[in-house]
């Protein structure tokens, strides 16, 4: 009930292409879905987040698409750049209160120049 499943585990995209990472959750009580970006040797950094009252949120080249009925959400990185090469984690939680994040397994993204 608490799981968040993330795919793919690794992804290679050419510079300028679109990177797509998918996540699915089980717990219908989840109502907050952040994405984190992590570079080697660093802590995860919040990239973008969405609440289920909208189906899409865009910030620069990063877009979250959300499908409440399917319990799925995805991250799209447009015009992918070598500097986007990192590990990406989706997460889910209830927004109010303790906000105990449940993370996906992570996706290692490599952007080839």
């Amino acid at each position: 009930q608490q799981q968040v499943k993330q795919s793919p585990q690794s992804l290679i995209v050419q510079k300028g292409g679109i990177s797509i990472i998918n996540c699915a959750y089980e717990n219908t009580a989840f109502d907050y879905f952040p994405w984190y970006q992590q570079f080697p040797g660093k802590g995860p950094a919040l990239l973008i987040a969405i609440r289920p009252d909208v189906s899409e949120k865009k910030e620069g080249r990063f877009t979250i698409s959300f499908n409440k009925s399917a319990k799925q959400f995805s991250l799209h990185i447009m015009d992918s750049q070598p500097g986007d090469s990192a590990t990406y984690f989706c997460a889910a939680t209830s927004f109010q209160g303790a906000q105990k994040l449940v993370f996906g397994q992570g996706t290692r993204l490599t952007i080839n120049p």
Binding site: Q2, P44, A49, A91, Q99, K100, F103
Partner: protein
């Protein structure tokens, strides 16, 4: 790193020894968290705190204890370290206001031999 420091940043210890990791925040936030990161598992919540002396268990709390005697400090203790506790440990705080989400520290890499 959102005003979060973790110490030590690296530690090697032997099985059976006690270990304490420290998380320090400078922004006076109510919520603090300890996660561990392992390949294939993403990040998993160990314990969290919602105020001084107020703590609760997360998903993987067995073998760990925590304490919070001051708002700014959250300690994670492995009473008797085991090799399965070799991991990277991240502290996080939850900021209030509009963003109201978690921000992570730089991490502590712990190796238990």
């Amino acid at each position: 790193d959102a005003g979060i420091t973790q110490s030590p940043r690296h530690k090697v210890t032997e099985t059976g020894t006690p270990v304490t990791l420290r998380c320090h925040q400078t922004e006076n936030h109510r919520y603090m968290y300890w996660y561990r990161q392992d390949p294939g598992h993403g990040l998993r919540l160990i314990h969290y705190s919602y105020g001084v002396k107020d703590t609760d268990k997360g998903e993987v709390s067995d073998g760990y204890s925590v304490s919070r005697s001051k708002t700014e400090d959250f300690l994670l203790t492995l009473e008797s370290a085991t090799s399965s506790q070799t991991s990277v440990y991240f502290c996080a705080i939850k900021r209030g206001g509009v963003t109201d989400t978690q921000y992570f520290g730089p991490g502590t890499r712990l190796t238990v031999l």
